[in-house]
């Protein structure tokens, strides 16, 4: 997707903002994780529907579109007046895929939450971020009674690119969530400096 940008303006004091995404299957604990560490704010967004899919009010030959409003939340951590982090949970249902690019655009990284009882639920998110080149880590939410796996097992089961961090977490506990976010940001820094070192150099053969 290509976007045209507004010119970046040198401002007196413009606040800096970082965005991260929290992805994973339905019921894996995305909302819990965001609520544990940040202030929850409501947001209305909208879903585009074409009249064709509605099947009423048919105006032949006119490509009319209509929208329906969707309610979602986001999390905000205000570190300082001039530094804020935003956490967006990615909607799980297929009909909301259109929102992912908008949410992922400019994100510094993503957390893919996994439940070891339903690992396949996070395949789509892993594929998406790998394809897009967004730095991401996998956070295994340790539910009571769920079989405990080692991070290495999850790494193999999800067939992750080597070097993708896998951490165990409890989305209800602040220190645990903090550890997840610190791991993500460290990973994003490592990837960013690695990319910079490779810029302008030929790719290794093979």
């Amino acid at each position: 997707m290509h976007y045209r940008h507004f010119d970046t303006v040198e401002a007196e004091v413009m606040p800096a903002a970082a965005k991260i995404l929290i992805a994973g299957g339905f019921g894996v604990g995305k909302t819990t994780l965001v609520g544990t560490i940040s202030e929850i704010r409501p947001l209305r967004t909208e879903e585009m529907l074409s009249d064709r899919s509605i099947g009423v009010d048919d105006i032949s030959g006119v490509d009319r579109k209509t929208t329906t409003t969707v309610a979602m939340d986001f999390g905000r951590i205000t570190f300082r007046a001039d530094l804020t982090m935003y956490l967006f949970g990615t909607p799980g249902q297929e009909r909301f895929w259109f929102m992912w690019d908008d949410l992922a655009y400019g994100a510094v990284g993503a957390v893919v939450m996994a439940d070891t009882r339903r690992l396949a639920d996070c395949f789509a998110a892993v594929d998406y971020f790998e394809h897009r080149g967004t730095p991401f880590i996998v956070a295994v939410n340790c539910f009571d009674g769920a079989p405990t796996y080692q991070p290495e097992d999850v790494q193999i089961a999800l067939d992750l690119v080597p070097g993708t961090p896998v951490v165990l977490c409890d989305a209800r506990h602040r220190d645990s969530v903090k550890n997840v976010l610190v791991t993500l940001i460290r990973h994003a820094i490592a990837k960013s400096s690695a990319n910079r070192e490779y810029q302008g150099r030929p790719l290794p053969a093979g």
Binding site: H5, I37, R41, Y86, V108
Partner: protein
Amino acid sequence: MRPYAMTKGRTEPASGAYIGLIDVVAAVAHLRLPADARLSREHRRVLSHCRQPITVVDLASDIDLPVGVVRVLLSDLSQYGALRVVATSREPVSHERLLRDVLDALQAL
């Protein structure tokens, strides 16, 4: 009122420029609008909420309008020269500085 009635049915920003969810918008001080500028009540509401710099999502949340509607209104206001839209930095060096600032701040939580 149906949300897009506020934008006269437009669902895309007039200028075609993408406005990111966490781009920061700020009303321009000492504003002189072009003679042909037509500001609706919603335009004025948006403008009055960004006297201090604010992100697009916080603005949409504060005034309880769908984010797509807010983007169209912001784009109009930007074209009138009434506000500035500052894109979140994506330049590698300042991106890394942002990441390190966030890391320090997270660890200090």
